[in-house]
Amino acid sequence: MMPNPLHYYRPDTITEARDLFEQLQRANQRPTYYGGGTEILTRSRLNDGDFDAVIDLKGIPELHVHEQDGSRLRFGSVLRLTELADRDLWPFLTATVDRIADHTTRGQITLGGNLFSTLPYKEALLPFLVSDSADLTVATPDGVKQRRLADVFDEELRLDPGDFLISVTVDGQEAKALAFKSFKMTRQDWIDYPLVTIGTARREDGSIRAAFSGWSSFPFTSSRVNKILSNTQKPPEERAREAVAAMPFHAVDDIHGSSEYRQFVTQYTLARMLKELEAQS
């Protein structure tokens, strides 16, 4: 057990944080933003990080926002997963984040840290991926900017280097109108990375969207798959089978499960979710 070779900074304002990042870079340091630290510290102790300074974002009030802000639900990026669940502003988000890691660790992991995790899973992203209205509030050198999630998401949320997430918002109406299911499937254990975690939502028009984590090395949603899932002419089992066949990426093969098994699990899970979703309405 030993101290990590890291410098520690805790700015008080957004501007201070954003400027600090550049200052440190200019001084040839390798800064990284620090949310809950659960990933940074696990990587640091294994010498697997390209950083030597952490900028702890938890001192900035705007990043703690957790509210219904006009018509939008706003989630600050340093909110802990347990805070999200306890407040339960968006039950879909609660259901998803409540299955990440374990309870104590969820009290440490932040929303921003999960969304920007370097691991393949980023399960907290799933509800935002299936919604139409998700926006990111981002700190940039030119001040605070809004970005549509759809515009910055390409296998991961791509911000410009040095930018960081202040908060995420979704339209309150949309969030409320979505009937949802979130299922996390693991190899065997309750606490584990997912074989596949699926977030599905049914809109008022009956169409269905699903987002997947664990299936490939990044979370995704696919319009083709969504279309298949929305075809209520066909029974859920058949839609699930077709959806699995139509996935845009190969299922990964790793110590949690083989590629074929992931397909099997995804298929029966999707079928179940469809049944439950459609039974609800």
Binding site: M1, P3, L6, Y8, R10, A101, T104
Partner: protein, 157 residues
Amino acid sequence: MKSLTRPEQISFNVNGEPRDVVIYPGETLLYTLRGDALGLTGAKPGCENGDCGACTVLVNEIPVKSCMVLTPEVEDQAITTVEGLQNAPIQQAFLDHNAFQCGYCTSGFLMVGHALSQDVDNGSPERTVEWLRSNICRCTGYQEIYDAVSSVAHPNG
């Protein structure tokens, strides 16, 4: 802005006492607690990776894996370690239910159990299981630990 780039003194409250300790900017709370200055070795390193919970302490009453926190993060906060439990009911419950063997995981489980029993909506078997899943015990059958925590967190079933 707070910045730490070399060993420096910071203050926090440990087990009800204000303490000033010189720390490295990158040291974990687990390291600080167990170090010579505080000597609180009740929190155990079992993985230092957030997985086992043997290092769990309370920060402002909330259970936290102390190997996954940098000490500068908890500046001015209130830390409770197992050494700070003063005849808490959870301790007697662990004795009564034989809730340990080697004892290495015990401090961590005690802290989670204690926090749960203090939590406003403690009280359900599901919640107890969910909180206790955060920790690993390799010796017991878990039932003993569950029974001990339940007896304090939701004594009426």
